[in-house]
């Protein structure tokens, strides 16, 4: 009875307090976004697409964000009924997977609940999401960001990491400080050279009840970084060290781990240059020592090679080897000015990017449990990856635009995919991306790609046509054809068509066709993403 009375009163007050609420809520913003990806799977034995018993699989999520002055709160609801092929099957069911509240004052920002953050380049800590890959290691706990003086930025957190619809077993805590000397010391504010220093310490705790081994329960890692800027030059360097952390990925060895990352860059009008070097040794760092693939990573080891977007350039994707790798990357961006011989009428852009990655030098350790010993000055002798990308962008005239790309890749399938004995793949890829603007509203884009290799599945050719009607419609059709495959039966066409409608921040896409298979190998575990054939539907919206 009392309950009824209370609810009635509340409802009544709602009626009367409408205007009061209106005032409070006037300052409150409610916004969010929404995405749904669904696919209907047809079994297709020719390409090895497995039978999907549910027939239709879908991933969906919605974010809702509420802001009111200094206060922000948000939730995300995810639904996998069931998860699309290629996603870990532990993504199953629906629920609220992300919720937080943040209060910001002038100097201090406090977040409780889930949050994403990173320290420096992420070598000891990075928590982030990549929904399209199903990657999400959000922290669940408390985070503080403190800015006591100008130029001093401190961060601290403690929490557990997200593991699908629950949290991992390990507790992670960390602290980071970033010091911008130009802001701290007024005398340095006007100098041309600016120095930013940073340091972090992260540790994790996981209980050890292993009957055979004595595993460390607390594992710490620290990192120090410096960012030096002088006009157009900049140096960004970070060193990280991790104490012994036996885990699945490193086969339970007790060796320490470390990583060094250096990047030199120069930027001037029309010219950009970067040179990066990286060395990683045993830097797998997870909040569950028996996690693998994409679960529960505490840190982030960025891959050196260029991120590829063209389809045939992603057939051999390199993934950082957390157990050990060293490499360099050099990149050049240059625009030849318009009205010069090389620049043509509108200017020509050229970008060159090359990487070389090898294993680290290892020698047997004095003690078996340490795994191996390494030497900074010696180079490992196994080639992991080489590439050279040359891209020329040219606007020919008001209607025609060209992007021509040549890529050479040498890819160590053995190490990256866990297929020992397979030779390295040497691939030459040529891509022509041509856009023709028919009139102000209509344009058509064609992509012609070719991958030539003597290894693996040999040669591929791909052609794509995309027709867009600004601002709402687009239609595309593409075909990937493995014409050069040694096995005649595997010379298959992967034909795919898509239609999309976009309006403001809403987009709906409908596709139909075949998708080729892929493989995901991280650390000591490999996962296979099967080929598929069917209808796909994708809806995204921001409100």
């Amino acid at each position: 009875m009392i309950r009824k009375l209370i609810i009635f009163c509340l409802a009544g007050s709602g009626l009367m307090g409408n205007s009061l609420f209106a005032q409070i809520l006037n300052n409150t913003g409610v916004h969010g976004n929404f995405e749904l990806n669904a696919q209907y799977y047809d079994p297709d034995s020719a390409i090895g697409a497995p039978v999907v018993p549910e027939k239709m699989l879908s991933n969906g999520f919605a974010n809702i964000l509420i802001t009111n002055g200094r206060f922000t709160a948000g939730i995300r609801y995810e639904s996998y009924l069931n998860a699309l092929q290629g996603f870990d099957p532990r993504y199953t069911g629906s629920g609220i997977t992300y919720r937080y509240a943040t209060y910001t004052s002038d100097e201090l920002e406090v977040t409780v609940g889930n949050f994403y953050d990173q320290f420096g380049n992420g070598l000891v800590f990075r928590s982030y999401e990549e929904r399209s890959l199903g990657y999400d290691n959000a922290m669940d706990g408390i985070r503080l960001r403190y800015n006591p003086l100008a130029g001093v930025y401190l961060k601290g957190f403690i929490g557990k990491q997200r593991s699908y619809f629950s949290v991992g077993p390990g507790i992670v805590r960390g602290i980071d400080g970033e010091f911008n000397t130009a802001e701290i010391f007024k005398s340095l504010a006007d100098k041309k050279t600016r120095v930013i220093l940073g340091g972090s310490f992260v540790s994790k705790f996981q209980k050890d009840d292993d009957p055979l081994l004595n595993l460390p329960e607390n594992v710490g890692a620290y990192a120090a970084r410096i960012n030096l800027l002088h006009g157009g030059f900049s140096i960004n360097a970070e060193y990280a060290y991790k104490y012994n952390d036996p885990s699945t990925v490193n086969n339970l060895i007790y060796k320490y781990g470390d990583a060094i990352y250096v990047q030199l860059a120069y930027a001037a009008k029309g010219l950009g240059l970067t040179l990066s070097g990286k060395r990683i040794d045993n830097m797998n760092f997870r909040s569950d020592r028996s996690a693998a693939v994409q679960d529960l990573n505490i840190n982030f080891l960025p891959a050196l090679p260029k991120t590829q977007t063209y389809r045939l350039a992603t057939v051999y994707p390199y993934a950082t080897q957390p157990n050990g790798e060293e490499g360099i990357n050099a990149e050049l961006f240059y625009t030849f000015k318009a009205k010069t011989p090389l620049g043509g009428r509108y200017g020509t852009g050229i970008s060159i990017n090359t990487s070389a990655i090898n294993s680290i030098f290892t020698s047997p350790a004095s003690n078996d449990t340490l795994g191996y010993e390494t030497d900074y000055l010696k180079l490992g002798d196994v080639t992991y990856y080489r590439d050279l990308n040359v891209e020329i962008t040219k606007k020919v005239n008001q209607s025609w635009k060209l992007i021509l790309t040549y890529i050479f890749q040498e890819y160590n399938k053995d190490v990256v995919e866990g297929k020992p004995g397979v030779q390295n793949v040497h691939a030459h890829i040529g891509i022509a991306d041509i856009t023709y603007k028919i009139n102000t509203k209509n344009s058509i884009r064609a992509e012609l790609q070719h991958l030539a290799t003597k290894q693996d599945h040999q040669d591929w050719a791909m052609a794509m046509l995309e027709y867009t009607i600004s601002p709402h419609w687009f239609f595309s059709v593409y075909d990937e054809y493995n014409y050069g495959n040694e096995i005649k039966d595997d010379r298959i066409h992967f034909l795919n068509a898509a239609l999309g409608y976009t309006r403001k921040a809403n987009r709906i896409t409908l596709g139909y066709g075949r998708q080729r298979a892929g493989l995901l190998c991280v650390g000591g575990v490999c996962r296979f993403v099967p080929a598929s054939n069917g209808v796909t539907l994708s809806i995204t919206s921001t409100f």
Partner: protein, 170 residues
């Protein structure tokens, strides 16, 4: 009976509390989020101002081809747009540690004149509810979102310019 009563009361409550929310038609105000400049300085998005003139905030990444196409297309006309409307384009890069270091050389190499900030942690992206890039917002003089669009097709920049002109009162 009891359940029906509860349901009715709860619905009434919900309707009347949320009514003001529905009535609210304002776009999202630019939130106050810390991002970094290309020089590594901390920058608060609160400081994205343009003297009461319209602002375009475009989320992009070096690896996102349509984003680069869009920013190139606008770059060709940027000077003219600025002259006519005083608009200012702020490009927020969501490149993470893998590619963030290339943002400055990349933008310099393309001769872009925009204000570029790095949102490597994705805080600003999440605060603006951005799912995929490109995602471009047109901000009014009162720092609220007037319109937004995702994806880019050649020719879209002209539509954007029409909206900018309208926002600038031209």
């Amino acid at each position: 009976m009891k359940n029906v009563f509860l349901l009715i009361s709860a619905s009434l409550l919900l309707i009347f509390i949320s009514q003001p929310l529905w009535a609210q038609e304002k776009g999202q105000k630019i939130p106050s989020i810390k991002v970094k400049t290309l020089n590594g300085q901390m920058f608060d998005t609160d400081s994205i101002v343009n003297d009461g003139k319209p602002i375009i905030i475009s989320f992009w990444a070096t690896w996102c081809k349509p984003c680069v196409t869009e920013l190139n297309a606008i770059a060709e006309n940027y000077a003219e747009w600025q002259e006519q409307t005083g608009v200012r384009l702020v490009a927020i890069s969501i490149d993470d540690a893998r590619t963030a270091g290339s943002v400055k050389p990349f933008a310099s190499g393309k001769n872009w004149e925009y204000d570029i900030y790095l949102d490597t942690n994705g805080d600003f992206k999440r605060a603006m509810n951005v799912n995929t890039v490109p995602h471009t917002f047109l901000i009014s003089s009162s720092r609220e979102v007037i319109s937004q669009h995702t994806t880019f097709a050649p020719g879209d920049e002209e539509k954007l310019f029409e909206e900018v002109k309208k926002a600038a009162g031209k």
